[in-house]
């Protein structure tokens, strides 16, 4: 057998553990999503309004930090081990980072779940965007830091494998999947500087009572320094699947390996210096800095549009190899009966729609129309909630046999599941965007206020609320199907043999056509750092000089800083 689990049983164990953690978080987060969808539309309110924010935090943290990142580390472990064709350098180290992530998860989860009861003082109703002034129990932040350190060590583990491989293969191009992992992790190291600084220097000392106050704008800015690139951290494994697995499932070959590498390098360069576009309405950051962030964000559309071309061209290649003809007729020759293919293709389609709402978010003027409205969750339910989540679920129908050695329970049931997810999100995504245009706020248990009405351009608010509730129910049915199917396949209830999926076919234009400079990750990281400095140095300096490191209230540390540095700043000015 050529299965991953037979060749690398110990690494397959880690991949399975990571995926199990990931899907557990997906299940928990999904149930919270249903509660929210029914609560804020008024159809069924089983929790108090105040508890809504505990539910919302659990939904956000489970979905966008735990589900996505656990899946990522599992999938990346497979990608590195399989593409370099070598075992982990030290499997104990691999287990160490996984269990660090688990320990962090347990701490953060305990803090969030404490919000459901008054029996403890544990609480973390701070949402997934946990910047000040919202404050959680310190164990929440300690848990998050531990979790992130786990991901850092995972990156170290994969870099060790890559360096060892390079020593044995001098002059060879890095295999595509390993290249994608390394560029993504470099981006992650740069991005997490922001959140690490925000938590370790400011939010955690404040939560522990070591300092009296924080500069809220500073912690917000440091959060979004991390908070935007994290969306690419979710997205990069999905991109890897679209580039590497989807063409194979379609019966074709990747159109261009060099283009795929360029896309990942562009994400390394441009993901971080964009975070300020989440702060267009924040007072205290000058318009000029916001304009720079907008420009970088618009440049970031380029790798996504390159991906749209390359991935569709690779699918078309498959369709034509399978006998497809015509300008659009080839679409009929794609394997729509396979859930792994159909789910990923529909996820890509939804991502194209999300591209439009993302352009609206990114534009400084249009952002004012939709800022803090339900449009924004509408946008990211199409990106992370469909492009990423549906790709992860769909790919599991292909991926699971590789790591468990068991066949999937039923392709037909899988097909129903991915179609239901797409359908549910069509209702929910569409309605959320339109409600947002009408001005209904996000992050709100009760969106209605006396004397305030929301006018929709088309349809009524109650019809749109019904669409959200209907969408949440369909998505939950899809999720339950997925979990049941996963259980049946994992434990091999039908005793289906695992298919031998063979090797991933070579790209039409192979790595030998890529410019050699693409391999120089030091250079790309250095350029990324320069771009970050250009975008962030001045805004951060201006935020700190306006209100100090710890807010205008002033603390011993803040005052000491101002005492020591302001004369110097005066001289320079």
């Amino acid at each position: 057998m050529n299965l991953f689990v037979d060749r690398y049983p110990e690494e397959a164990w880690i991949v399975r553990a990571a995926l199990a953690s990931s899907f557990l978080a997906l299940f928990l987060g999904g149930i919270m999503g249903l509660i929210q969808g029914l609560h804020r539309t008024g159809f069924l309110q089983i929790v108090q309004d105040s508890t809504y924010y505990t539910v919302l935090t659990l939904h956000g943290v489970s979905m966008v930090l735990l589900f996505t990142i656990y899946f990522l580390v599992g999938f990346f472990q497979w990608a590195v081990t399989d593409s370099l064709d070598r075992s982990a350098e030290d499997i104990r180290f691999t287990k160490l980072w996984y269990f660090l992530m688990v320990a962090g998860t347990v701490m953060a989860a305990a803090a969030i779940l404490g919000g459901f009861t008054d029996a403890t003082n544990l609480e973390a109703d701070v949402l997934y965007t946990f910047y000040a002034p919202l404050e959680a129990h310190p164990i929440f932040y300690i848990g998050l830091v531990t979790f992130v350190i786990g991901t850092w060590l995972a990156g170290v583990d994969w870099f060790r494998s890559w360096w060892a491989w390079k020593k044995e293969h001098p002059g060879e191009r890095t295999p595509l999947r390993a290249f994608m992992v390394m560029t993504t992790m470099l981006m992650w190291y740069l991005a997490t500087i922001g959140v690490a600084a925000a938590i370790l220097f400011f939010i955690l000392p404040w939560s522990l009572g070591l300092v009296d106050s924080v500069n809220s704008l500073l912690t917000r800015t440091l959060f979004w320094f991390f908070g935007h690139p994290v969306v690419y951290f979710w997205l990069m494994p999905a991109y890897m699947m679209w580039y590497v697995i989807l063409p194979k499932l379609a019966g074709g070959r990747l159109f261009s390996d060099p283009l795929a590498r360029i896309v990942f390098v562009l994400f390394l360069l441009l993901s971080v210096p964009t975070g300020i576009h989440h702060q267009y309405v924040d007072p205290g950051i000058a318009e000029g800095f916001k304009f720079v962030a907008m420009t970088n964000t618009m440049f970031l559309l380029l790798p996504s549009l390159l991906t749209a071309f390359t991935v569709v061209a690779s699918m078309e290649h498959g369709a034509r190899q399978r006998g497809g003809t015509g300008r659009l007729g080839w679409l009929r020759s794609l394997p729509w009966n396979k859930p792994a293919f159909t789910g990923m293709a529909l996820a890509g389609l939804m991502f194209a729609a999300a591209g439009f709402s993302g352009m609206v978010n990114a534009g400084m003027n249009l952002n004012y129309v939709i800022h803090n409205t339900l449009w924004v969750p509408g946008h990211f339910h199409l990106t992370v909630g469909t492009a990423v989540a549906l790709t992860f679920m769909a790919s599991t129908y292909w991926f699971l046999p590789q790591i468990t050695g068991n066949g999937v329970f039923s392709q037909r049931l899988g097909l129903v599941q991915v179609l239901l997810w797409f359908l549910g999100m069509v209702f929910m995504g569409n309605a959320m965007h339109r409600i947002g245009l009408a001005g209904e706020p996000r992050r709100t248990a009760e969106p209605f206020y006396d004397g305030v009405t929301f006018d929709t351009a088309l349809g009524s608010i109650s019809e749109l609320h019904f669409q959200i509730a209907l969408g949440s129910v369909i998505l939950t049915v899809s999720l339950l199907l997925f979990m049941a199917h996963l259980f049946l396949s994992w434990f091999d209830v039908a005793s289906n043999p695992a298919p031998d999926n063979g090797v991933i076919p070579e790209a039409l234009s192979g790595p030998e056509n890529a410019p050699i400079v693409l391999e120089n990750l030091r250079l790309w990281t250095a350029i990324a750092l320069v771009l970050i400095l250009l975008t962030y140095a001045l805004p951060l300096a201006s935020i700190v000089s306006a209100n100090g490191f710890f807010g205008s209230a002033g603390t011993l540390v803040g005052t000491a800083y101002e005492f020591a540095v302001s004369p110097f700043v005066g001289v320079v000015a």
């Binding site: 749209a308 290649h317 300008r327 679409l331």
Partner: protein
């Protein structure tokens, strides 16, 4: 494919390829068509946003 009888691969490379198409024979004009349609849709949506934002003359969220 029904459950219980599945042994075939989940990808289409096993026995479903009619003709192998190499780098030089492949012309992705179907992709061009799809991307063209996408750009038309995006352009129309931008025109729509122009009406929402500038010609509606209603108060915005802010």
């Amino acid at each position: 494919m029904d459950s219980g009888t599945e042994s075939a691969s989940a990808d289409a490379w096993d026995g479903e390829i009619e003709t192998e198409i190499g780098h030089d024979e492949y012309d992705p004009y179907g992709t061009l068509t799809l991307i063209g349609i996408y750009f038309v849709i995006i352009a129309l949506l931008w025109v729509f946003m122009y009406f929402v934002e500038f010609l509606g003359e209603g108060p915005t969220v802010m």
